[in-house]
Symmetry: C2
Subunit: 350 residues, 2 copies
Amino acid sequence: VYKNQSYLENTVSRPKTRVTMADVAQRAEVSMMTVSRVINNKPDISEKTRQHVLQIMREIGYRPNRIARSLATDKSFKVGVVMPSLATAFYAEILEGVEQVLWEHNYNLLLCNSGRSQKREQDLLHMLEEDRVDGVIVFSSHLPPATLTALLKRQRAAVGFSSDVDPQVAGIVTIDEMAAMNKAVNHLAASGKRALGHIGGSQNNRAGRERCRGFVTALQQAGLKVNPDWIVACEPVNENISFTHAVALLEQHPCIDGLVCFNDYAAVGALQACRIVGRRVPDDVAIIGYDDILISRVTSPTLTTLRYTQTTHGVGKAAGQLLLERINGRAGGEQIVVIDHELVIRESAP
Amino acid sequence: VYKNQSYLENTVSRPKTRVTMADVAQRAEVSMMTVSRVINNKPDISEKTRQHVLQIMREIGYRPNRIARSLATDKSFKVGVVMPSLATAFYAEILEGVEQVLWEHNYNLLLCNSGRSQKREQDLLHMLEEDRVDGVIVFSSHLPPATLTALLKRQRAAVGFSSDVDPQVAGIVTIDEMAAMNKAVNHLAASGKRALGHIGGSQNNRAGRERCRGFVTALQQAGLKVNPDWIVACEPVNENISFTHAVALLEQHPCIDGLVCFNDYAAVGALQACRIVGRRVPDDVAIIGYDDILISRVTSPTLTTLRYTQTTHGVGKAAGQLLLERINGRAGGEQIVVIDHELVIRESAP
DNA sequence: CTGAAAGCGCTTACAG
DNA sequence: CTGAAAGCGCTTACAG
């Protein structure tokens, strides 16, 4: 008698135990090997047998158990994705790009949110290891480079996005923050600004560190004064924190006539600060943001900002693609994808 | 000789096969049973043995294989989440809420994006079945109610958010769209509007259907005229499609003096349409949106809109919580969580 | 407090 | 073209 009979009936009760390959084999009067062959579309099987087995599978509502298959094949068709935040528009769009390529190649996505916590990022990576995922993508890691590298080395395949990680260990999708800051600084210098400040981001991730470093280097190259007091770090970086920092900065250093900000949120805070402190934008203080989020078009004045030449969705796809190549072992040596950017000139720094 | 020796060395090469429980047992000179006990923090084990085993695990870098454990226990500690879109702010925020509660209870999230495709939604649900996830949450399903119900019945536990599904089969987080539309229509009627139109959404999901139905019912209750020609459906619903529909609507029916829109994007399109057609908002045509997204505060005129009394993040948490209850079998009978809303009155319909 | 054996539901060589 | 046996890495009763 068929052990999952109740499952076939139209009742609300759920099955304690589901239909297995053995059930199919028994009912179809073939071996499990044969059932396995039709599930996996293997050749060397008569069309008659195949159809018969398929028919039985439909009849009893059989679905193969991927957990068992993963254990047997040591391949999970899952990849872990570690994000510093999910509700941020930027990461949400990236996620959609990643999901798209992965799904197209039959991979599934185990979603992890580190919430920018180092501890949690580590826990997550350990868990992903226990899940035996086929690969991992880490976005904007907040872990020290050595720690991250050690953690990723333990994964079957890995990609780091805007994270400092050994290129021997993981594929890399990176942003040339030095060049970006150079564009911003040169633009301000060209319009006559001479005392530039930086509303920076967290020094716990690559973007924050590199933008700060790039800002300083760009100043030097442009022959402008570098004053450490004109550089502040927001943590976390949002309008409010940035506002507070910017007010203090502008009050203590009235000479500042230009501000390069970590991102558009920080720039919005700086904009408000100028209003409070009584400085006109861009005449007294010019402001440049980063990311070109929706809001940068509706502030007044509108925001001059840096943006990737690729869509955010495209950036996610690139990261997914890179991981797939590594999973499939088609990766020859170090792989580094560099995302370019451009300056979008609006009113805050014409 | 230890088979994963190379894994312990500081090389870039990755292990073909990882450390297993058997390796730990052998090296610690205990049985696998004992190792299993320390992994799972079971009692009945001497502190000395426990510490010794833990030490060995650390030494050889052992991480338990959750795939094997899942197979043995028939429990995956994973839940599937099916979304119609990832990059939409609304769903991104919900996702963060879901991820949060799930992680707090040691569950992981298999993320799926249906892209509003019925076919893909079905494929996804089948795949999740094969993954033997402990539960599934479907957001704003585009599947016919009977199909969705049948699919969810096959899952170990399920929750539907704003989806028509049999409450015997899944927990439900739902929005009382009838009441919402009632608020919108009454507000317009109270300000003297008499000929109301509806810029609706897709009829392939509950929100679209219910808002339309609620709109009509509210008109009837308010004693206002119901004219099917004054109701249009946008598919997909975005500013451009809405703009096109609204222009046609306003040109063909100049008498219309109020528009209730499916969401804020649709309302923004309607706003633009009024400008093009030469109708003043709110004097000639009053407009009401839905969702209270960021943009509704910066349009001119600003947008009167409906919003949930709970944060979007909170809505995600509620859905996650509900699923956990069902997974743990603490669910007594039908479970329906209703999300309330309120009218945010701004300039477009004062 | 500790262990030997069977089983979870598949796949992988290996035979025939 | 088809099948019997062993194995993937854990856990679950059951003994002692």
